[in-house]
């Protein structure tokens, strides 16, 4: 789960990472009250989970109340790369002598936390790497030993930061590591890490991602989840304990097991279609879960056809078939369905579907035949024409320019206990 800047800074404060004094505001009046309390000049910052806020005009300096009002009015409701600004953070302005960069990432390749420090801050990591790869010092920390003062010294000296702040920067990194471990973070990033005119070291920004699987032991962080910012289908699915990811095509997809569903999306794309979603109904899917899943998939107005791809292991194909029959009896289903059932009780499942004589339900024997059929039934997605002409494998893997790099969306809550 990605936190907003002010939420990350709350965690920083809790663990002694120095941050400028600031207040959260969701209206112009609250922003003005914050300005009075903090004293001018202040900086007003859009709270959205995306980089490039400053360039988009979402961060402004205000010297007095009238400037603050003007900026707060402009920023609230502003659209920053597709995200609407609903919240502000008003912070006492800092005077900037140096801007550094610090981060702790969960390095799954090395299976250790990696701590990074650079004397070049205020730009993104890729830019630092481009300009001067040697400017980024990094080291791995043994999770059973933890971050020690010598780690801080190594990073500070290696990165070439100003000699007089080696000690306070090292101390800040130690506290940042405490945030990383104690709060179950997958990422903690401070950019810029600021040295003020008085040579104080403070975290001017905070980017924190919390492990969704660990939220049960962080009730405070769990409250940071903002249902309003979630996609309506994703929210609906989460409330029903389903793993659903909204995509931008028109072929609704349900399968059991994350790997098989990912594979299903791929074969649909290879057949020239555009998946509308990822939905893993999970192992041992019962009929009721299938009804919920159908409702979630069909609540996306873009869906013009639906593919069920089930390989029954623990999941029984007869349960899935019964769920589908129930869903058709309860919901107003107009989109055509293609169903492929294989594995445990598959014959029984197909018999149930045949006897129910559901309108618009095709049963196919293989995954590839099912994919081809659903793409035919779905018709072209509104903006899928160019996509369909590109080579199949990997064609749709191109980067989504809207997505922020390194900002994993929280994983599912631990609902599915095998």
């Amino acid at each position: 789960m990605d936190l907003l800047e002010y939420q990350g800074k709350q965690l920083f404060s809790k663990h002694g990472v120095p941050v400028p004094d600031g207040r959260h505001a969701s209206s112009v009046e609250q922003a003005l009250a914050a300005g009075e309390e903090l004293g001018y000049p202040v900086v007003v910052k859009a709270q959205v989970q995306i980089g490039g806020r400053g360039k988009a005009g979402g961060i402004k300096l205000a010297g007095d109340a009238s400037e603050l009002r003007q900026h707060a009015e402009a920023i609230l409701g502003m659209d920053i790369r597709g995200l609407t600004v609903n919240e502000l953070y008003v912070e006492r302005a800092s005077d900037i002598a140096e801007e550094y960069y610090a981060a702790i990432v969960f390095d799954r390749g090395a299976k250790q936390p990696m701590v990074m420090l650079s004397r070049m801050g205020g730009m993104d990591v890729e830019e630092i790497a481009d300009k001067d790869p040697s400017a980024m010092a990094r080291l791995h920390v043994d999770p059973l030993v933890g971050f020690r003062p010598f780690h801080g010294r190594r990073l500070a000296f290696e990165s070439g930061i100003a000699a007089d702040v080696v000690r306070p920067v090292g101390a800040l990194l130690e506290r940042l590591y405490e945030v990383f471990v104690a709060e179950d973070a997958m990422l903690v990033e401070v950019n810029p890490l600021l040295v003020t005119g008085e040579r104080e070291v403070v975290a001017l920004d905070a980017k924190v991602t919390i492990d969704g699987n660990a939220l049960y032991r962080h009730p405070d962080s769990a409250q940071f989840r903002d249902p309003g910012a979630e996609d309506p289908q994703e929210q609906m699915a989460r409330e029903r304990g389903l793993t659903y990811v909204k995509l931008d095509g028109n072929v609704g997809i349900l399968g059991n097991g994350a790997g098989l569903v990912m594979s299903t999306l791929d074969v649909v794309a290879q057949a020239g279609g555009k998946p509308a979603n990822f939905l893993d109904a999970g192992g041992g899917s019962k009929a009721e879960a299938i009804v919920d899943a159908v409702e979630v998939i069909l609540s996306d107005p873009k869906v013009t056809a639906v593919l069920f791809n089930i390989f029954g292991g623990i999941t029984r194909c007869d349960e899935v078939a019964n769920g589908l029959v129930t869903a058709f009896s309860r919901l107003d289903v107009s989109a055509p369905f293609v169903v492929r059932l294989d594995g445990t009780n598959d014959e029984e499942g197909r018999r149930i579907l045949a006897e129910a004589e559901l309108p618009n339900v095709d049963v196919e024997r293989t995954m590839l035949e099912a994919a081809a059929r659903v793409v035919e039934l779905a018709g072209p997605a509104p903006d899928a024409r160019i996509e369909a002409e590109s080579p199949p494998v990997g064609a749709a893997a191109s980067a989504d320019p809207q997505a922020a790099p390194d900002s994993p969306v929280s994983s599912r809550p631990p609902v599915e206990q095998p």
Binding site: A214, S263, G283, T315, P392
Partner: protein, 292 residues
């Protein structure tokens, strides 16, 4: 021979008295696995369908000689159960539990690497050596004994590919689900190195997915150390960046961890990559056919 589990496996199940633990534990026993004990704190002295239950893994190991543990307890207790099993001296821990916090697994992983206990999972379907032993939740009736070693990050996708292989007449030496979490106890490399040394395994199929750089590292390892043919499959070409695709570990971060990059890394090292599960089975058939 097969790898990891076989006729000599003596299994203890942590969580045997739970609904899922007893269902799958007894299922494994019906398949022929030597299920010698269960562990549930406070229920020592009871039994589950004749299988003795102990309060601690230490007691279970001392009384029954269990050498393999299957962990079936809820996520917040699972890391503890893995460590308990390792300290009690079992050689292999198979953790099925999904949803263990990543930092817990980081500590467990680091600790286990310093000892001799091997961990499979968490968030995995387990290990099946057809005809010999099943430890986990893999539906064994789809698989028969044979020469294909199968290693995968995903459960149902493994069944899909295993089933396609079966239709070409291939059985399996062992099927290993290594799990879909960011930190798992055993990597593709760990398992492939076992298959390479296993005389029953003639061909290796690895089934990867988006996220991390495991598959890329494995490509380098295969080029240097593996003489047996390897066929690969990667799921998640259509996954958008920044979204977790079901498995906690299945996420493309920025430009890293994409299916495209993984497939290219494998192909660059001479590993053939099937574009869908059906083609994986065809490539396996071609490869084994060419060998004869």
């Amino acid at each position: 021979m097969s790898i990891l589990v076989g006729p000599d496996t003596k299994l203890v199940v942590s969580g045997l008295t739970g609904r899922e633990g007893s269902f799958h534990g007894l299922n494994n026993r019906r398949y022929g696995t030597d299920l010698v004990a269960g562990v549930t704190p406070g229920k020592g002295g009871q039994d589950v369908d004749g299988v003795p239950v102990f309060d601690t893994v230490h007691d279970a190991v001392a009384e029954t000689g269990a050498d393999t543990s299957m962990v079936f307890v809820p996520p917040r207790f699972a890391a503890d159960s893995i460590l308990e099993a390792a300290e009690a001296g079992v050689e292999l821990v198979v953790c099925i539990t999904e949803g263990i916090p990543a930092h817990d697994m980081l500590r467990v992983y680091t600790h286990l690497k310093r000892g001799s206990t091997r961990l499979i999972g968490p968030n995995c379907p387990g290990v099946l050596s057809p005809g010999k032993a099943n430890v986990g939740i893999i539906p064994a009736h789809f698989f028969s004994a044979g020469g294909v070693g199968l290693v995968s990050r995903s459960g149902t996708l493994t069944y899909q590919i295993g089933n396609e292989l079966a239709q070409h007449g291939f059985g399996n030496s062992t099927i290993v689900g290594i799990g879909g979490d960011p930190v798992v106890g055993s990597s593709f490399i760990d398992i492939i190195s076992l298959f390479e040394r296993d005389d029953q395994t003639e061909l290796i199929v690895m089934c990867g997915e988006i996220g991390g750089d495991e598959e890329e590292r494995t490509a380098d390892y295969i080029a240097e150390h593996v003489t047996k043919p390897v066929i690969a499959y990667i799921a998640g070409f259509t996954a958008p960046p920044g979204k977790t695709m079901g498995h906690a570990g299945a996420i493309v971060s920025g430009s890293s961890g994409t299916a495209q990059a993984k497939a290219e890394a494998l192909e660059a090292k001479g590993v053939r990559v099937g574009r869908d599960p059906t083609q994986v089975a065809q490539l396996a058939a071609e490869s084994l056919g060419a060998k004869v």
